[in-house]
């Protein structure tokens, strides 16, 4: 019996004037997606996000203040962290409210958009800011907007002020009413503190809501206080280092939200970055620590991460986007074990795009971040924080050492002088009167210099020369170096280019056979670690530092910090000798390259919060077209149509050759890194999707038949059928035209000249025939194709991974079903997975859906025996007494099928339970 639920007006009887708001722990819908749908979802704006807060920096600062003031550091730090968390969450909530209430305009995410109006000054500021370090113009711009939003004037006056400020259009540049269901604006979002990851986040652990998943979800909903808590309840937030929260904007109309969602999130991220430091409201919220909050590098302390597959930042196939998402690696429980194999710690990294080619079909929605490996969500986040901070510290040290080294060397070491000294060394190494061991050591040193420079900078041989050349044009490097030294990075590159040219020239000039003669023994362990990593895959441990220490035991360095005189530490040595100087300069350039490849991962270079899509690795794969979520659907339909076409022709020409056409997916072959406007972009080599045609004769497979197969009439059209037209003996003729030559029946290439060398005695000849003159007949042929068409279509569309599919489960409905039946009945799995209630009858289902909309609390049980008399009662978790309901239940006969409708017209809440009303 089909049951259709009808949602009609519900009038709630108020026994008091008190209007209660939604329960703070109202659960959010859970959206399950398979791989293909997850990939498609990545192009849509998310409705829900995780706020991942790292408190370590502010905690350390407050601890130090407490020590300076001789106060109880434990208590003050704890208090400071609580205030910091509440300030961050309060500010997010305030910004949301202001945006929804049209007190703040939307800041367009894509300033190049032709579809939506982009205010002119805003566009200029954002485009000007992209190449700058700190952008004062952006701060000034946001300050003006914020002061209009806080001036206390009417909304209409504010709209006028915004229009005057920068021509903000009231329709496109502000959140519209129709973004929300029933056009009812939601001024607050739902906020939960996450104690533990649970089936309430089941979409991160699995792709489909089957019976066991739904039952786990029901149990979790029943005991939700074990997993979530209110965001403003500090007593539940025990971990002082980190905290994770889930926020959700309720009651959105998805189709409208898709138009404005990315602009909303972009606005939140930019406003927050400015307001946390400057807004007067934060001065109040953050008291008495607001002054310290101003100094906090807030962009490093908060991540807004989409909850699921949808995005907060629209995906783009750009290094910046891919590098921000690379932060995902740090959140995995397996990070520490795999760290040294990851590209991010490689001496000469390829960049985040390499992973897309190495692992195009990676797993998704299968707990890819190892959430289940941790008892609490704080433990997972703490591991994330530790991995990230630890790796960043390593990269940071490398970068600082390199920049400082280059700064000092370029100012103090003349290239010509260095080369002169190196030349002297080469000459000396051929002096037979010196001790053989000393001579061999010297020759090794020179060998290292020449090999390392050749590897890195030789025009023909070096694969990393091109990568290092990119560095010159990256504005990023000046952003970074400018903070630390006065020298411009261009000075470093000029110096390095001159030095490498001279070193390579010198190495080419010397009599190599005489220096590295048959008595020479190469000690590979003396190479730099970056060289051993690239050339010997780290199979040899570098002893470079030991050799330097041994050298410095009896020699003074040629360049060192003055502190070396006392410390005698290798860290204070800039150049032990000439070869060390040359090698360290090269190493510094290599290390800078390595650090900057992932700069967007480690450093916040823009004045906005970061929002990596850590749960969806298909965001970048889809953006870069490494994965096409529609491919399988296209391929399935393609097969279907070609099968139908062949079915139509089979009767017309009985000897027809069955062509098997396949749609091969487009493939990204390579990502060539280029620098454009100072940033890394990709020049993607992409093989388009192509049709691969293979021939199979009705008398058997032609693969392996020792005859040349030719197909006349030119280009293969996927909708053509190929007809056998006989065997012939033919000689090879290089100049034959209009022939498509193959050497085996599974590969057809047009006019392949190379095939002329494979002369064969016989040829199987085919010709294409048009599909236009097709009619069905009664013979067996067409039925075979029809059956095959339907079987292939069914199989194709049943692909669980690659045909886009999604399900949405409402935890309250699932819990209601579970409470009703004590389990999830098999018959309810489909409805619950489609976001509908599933109960014993339509009245119960209608009751559950109505209660969800109007009452805080979970359905426990219902008495629907009197529904034919217009009455029912229901017990909910939030009220000790049952609620009374007025219902109307009718049964209609629709062409012999009984259709029952049931609707709730009134809910009567007992006086002492009025607070449960939403």
């Amino acid at each position: 019996m089909n049951v259709s639920n009808v949602l009609i007006l519900v009038s709630i009887v108020f026994s008091s004037a008190l209007f209660a708001s939604e329960d703070q722990l109202t659960l959010n819908d859970v959206r399950f997606t398979n791989r293909a749908r997850c990939a498609i979802d990545s192009e849509k704006p998310s409705e829900s996000a995780f706020i991942l807060l790292n408190n370590m920096d502010i905690a350390r600062a407050i601890y130090r203040v407490a020590k300076n003031r001789n106060e109880n550091s434990t208590e003050l730090t704890k208090k400071g962290i609580q205030i910091y968390r509440q300030t961050a969450l309060g500010l997010l909530q305030l910004i949301h409210k202001k945006i929804v209430n049209r007190e703040l305009p939307l800041l367009v995410a894509d300033t190049t958009s032709k579809k939506y109006h982009v205010p002119e000054n805003y566009r200029e500021v954002m485009e000007g800011c992209s190449s700058d370090d700190y952008c004062a113009e952006l701060d000034g711009y946001i300050e003006k907007i914020w002061s209009i939003s806080s001036d206390g004037r009417s909304l209409a006056q504010r709209q006028t002020d915004f229009y005057k400020l920068d021509n903000f259009h009231s329709k496109e540049n502000f959140i519209q009413n129709d973004v929300f269901q029933d056009d009812e604006r939601q001024f607050s979002y739902r906020c939960h503190y996450l104690k533990k990851f649970s089936p309430l986040e089941a979409h991160l652990f699995g792709t489909k809501p089957d019976k066991s998943v739904l039952e786990s979800l029901a149990r979790a909903a029943m005991n939700k206080e074990e997993y979530i808590a209110r965001c403003d309840d500090s007593s539940k937030q025990e971990n002082l280092k980190v905290a994770s929260y889930e926020i959700k904007i309720p009651n959105l109309r998805t189709s409208k939200w898709n138009d404005q969602g990315f602009d909303y999130w972009n606005s939140v991220k930019i406003y927050f970055s400015w307001a946390f430091r400057n807004a007067p409201e934060v001065q109040k919220m953050g008291a008495p620590f607001a002054h310290l909050f101003k100094a906090l590098a807030i962009e490093d302390a908060i991540l807004i991460v989409p909850n699921g597959c949808k995005s907060i930042t629209a995906p783009k196939c750009e290094a910046e986007y891919l590098n921000q998402n690379a932060i995902r690696e740090f959140s995995k429980s397996s990070y520490k074990k795999q760290a040294m194999n990851l590209d991010i710690l490689d001496s000469v990294p390829d960049g985040a795009q390499a992973d897309l080619l190495n692992d195009p079909f990676t797993a998704v929605n299968k707990d890819i971040l190892g959430l289940a490996d941790y008892q609490t969500s704080d433990a997972w986040l703490d591991n994330f924080r530790e991995n990230f901070a630890g790796t960043r510290a390593i990269v940071k040290r490398k970068l600082l050492r390199s920049i400082n080294h280059l700064d000092i060397v370029t100012k103090n070491v003349n290239v010509s002088k260095l080369i002169t000294k190196l030349t002297e060394k080469f000459v000396f190494s051929m002096n037979s009167s010196i001790d053989p061991k000393v001579r061999n050591d010297l020759k090794n040193e020179l060998f290292y210099v020449c090999s390392e420079y050749a590897f890195a900078t030789n025009e023909e041989l070096s694969f990393i020369k091109k990568k290092l050349n990119l560095l010159k044009d990256l504005t990023l490097l000046d952003k970074v170096t400018g903070k630390i030294v006065d020298s411009k990075s261009s000075e470093f590159f000029l110096y390095f280019e001159k030095l490498s040219k001279e070193v390579n020239g010198l190495c080419a000039k010397v009599n190599q056979d005489k220096i590295w003669d048959k008595n020479f023994t190469l000690d590979k362990s003396g190479f730099s670690s970056w060289y051993l990593d690239k050339v010997y895959e780290n199979k040899i441990q570098s002893t470079e530092n030991d050799r330097l220490k041994a050298y410095l035991a009896t020699n003074s360095p040629i360049l060192s910090y003055t502190s070396y005189k006392i410390s005698k530490s290798l860290d204070d040595v800039l150049c032990a000798n000439e070869t060390d100087c040359a090698r360290k300069t090269l190493k510094s350039i290599v290390d800078i390259y390595g650090a900057l490849q992932y700069a967007d991962t480690f450093w916040s270079l823009d004045q906005k919060l970061k929002s990596p899509n850590i749960f969806n690795p298909y965001a970048e794969r889809t953006a870069c077209r490494v994965y096409d979520p529609w491919y399988k659907t296209k391929q399935t339909m393609f097969h279907f149509f070609t099968d139908m076409a062949q079915g139509a022709l089979a009767t017309v020409t009985p000897g027809v050759l069955f062509a098997k056409f396949d749609l091969k997916p487009g493939q990204v072959v390579s990502f060539n890194q280029l620098v454009k406007d100072g940033k890394i972009v990709y020049d993607t080599k992409y093989n388009k999707a192509k049709v691969q045609a293979s021939l199979t004769a009705d008398f058997g497979n032609l693969l392996g038949v020792p005859c040349a197969v030719t197909v006349s009439n030119g280009e293969i059209n996927p909708y053509d059928i190929i007809q056998f037209s006989g065997i012939s003996a033919r000689a090879c003729n290089e100049k034959e035209r209009n022939l498509v030559n193959v050497s085996s029946a599974s590969d057809i290439t047009p006019n392949d000249q190379k095939k002329s060398s494979q002369c064969v005695v016989c040829a199987l000849n085919f010709e294409t025939i048009s599909t236009s003159a097709a009619t069905l007949s009664q013979t067996a042929g067409p039925q075979f194709f029809l059956v095959r068409a339907l079987v292939r279509l069914y199989r194709g569309l049943s692909d669980t991974l690659n045909i886009p599919r999604s399900w949405e489960a409402n935890p309250e409905y699932v819990l209601a079903t579970f409470n009703r039946f004590g389990k999830i009945p098999d018959s309810c799995v489909r409805s619950l997975g489609n976001g509908k209630a599933c109960m014993a009858n339509s009245c119960e289902a209608s009751i559950v859906e109505t209660l969800y909309r109007k009452i805080n609390g979970s359905f426990l049980s219902a008495n629907t025996n009197d529904t034919y008399r217009g009455k029912a009662s229901v017990k909910v978790s939030s009220c000790s007494e049952p609620l009374s309901l007025k219902v109307s239940r009718t049964v209609n006969d629709n062409n012999g099928i009984q259709e029952e409708t049931c609707s709730v017209s009134e809910v009567i809440v007992p006086k002492n339970c009025q607070s449960i009303l939403k």
Partner: protein
């Protein structure tokens, strides 16, 4: 006559030489402050900087905080790791007027081994103490105070300016002092 002129010049010069006690402190509202102690005869400097203050030879000034200094940024890491090595005392004493110019502008922040901006090492660690103490002659000052200027309005940390060693003030430099071996001497590079 010559002697008289020299004496007058010397006495005039004495008026310009810095001679204040400098300390970084934190208020009860958890704001960073600078406490200046003026010696006898120098009270006017304190009263100039803190007009209306009831204290005669003391001036307590609120400090700003520098943007992104609470964190593990490249610059702040470089400062704490390089203090005494890349950030060094140039040895030139600073006049009171130069110092007062900086203080009056309010565009400065102070760094010490107890700094809240230190996320490189533990609070007031021995290593950090040694680094800061090495800035002062004979390592004689227990708690040197290093001054950086910050950009107005944005509060972005800028250049290192001074170090206060007791009641003496010296200019600082971020140009590292290095020892160059005789093999490379006399061949300072020029840019190409």
């Amino acid at each position: 006559m010559k002697v008289v002129l020299i004496l007058i010049s010397f006495m005039a010069l004495q008026n310009y030489v810095f001679a204040m006690g400098v300390e970084e402190i934190w208020s009860s509202e958890y704001r960073p402050q600078l406490k200046l102690s003026c010696s006898e005869g120098e009270e006017s400097m304190c009263s100039d900087l803190c007009p209306g203050s009831s204290l005669v030879n003391e001036c307590i000034l609120d400090q700003k905080v520098c943007r992104d200094c609470v964190g593990t940024s490249l610059l702040v890491t470089n400062i704490f790791e390089g203090m005494g090595i890349r950030y060094r005392n140039r040895g030139d004493e600073v006049s009171s007027y130069e110092f007062m110019d900086l203080i009056a502008s309010k565009n400065f922040v102070t760094f010490t081994s107890k700094s809240v901006y230190n996320h490189v090492d533990s609070y007031d660690s021995l290593v950090l103490q040694k680094k800061f103490q090495s800035l002062c002659p004979m390592n004689s000052t227990l708690m040197p105070v290093v001054f950086f200027d910050i950009k107005p309005k944005t509060n972005i940390l800028n250049k290192v300016r001074y170090v206060a060693c007791g009641d003496k003030l010296y200019t600082m430099s971020d140009d590292a002092l290095v020892d160059i071996g005789v093999e490379l001497k006399n061949f300072k590079v020029r840019f190409y």
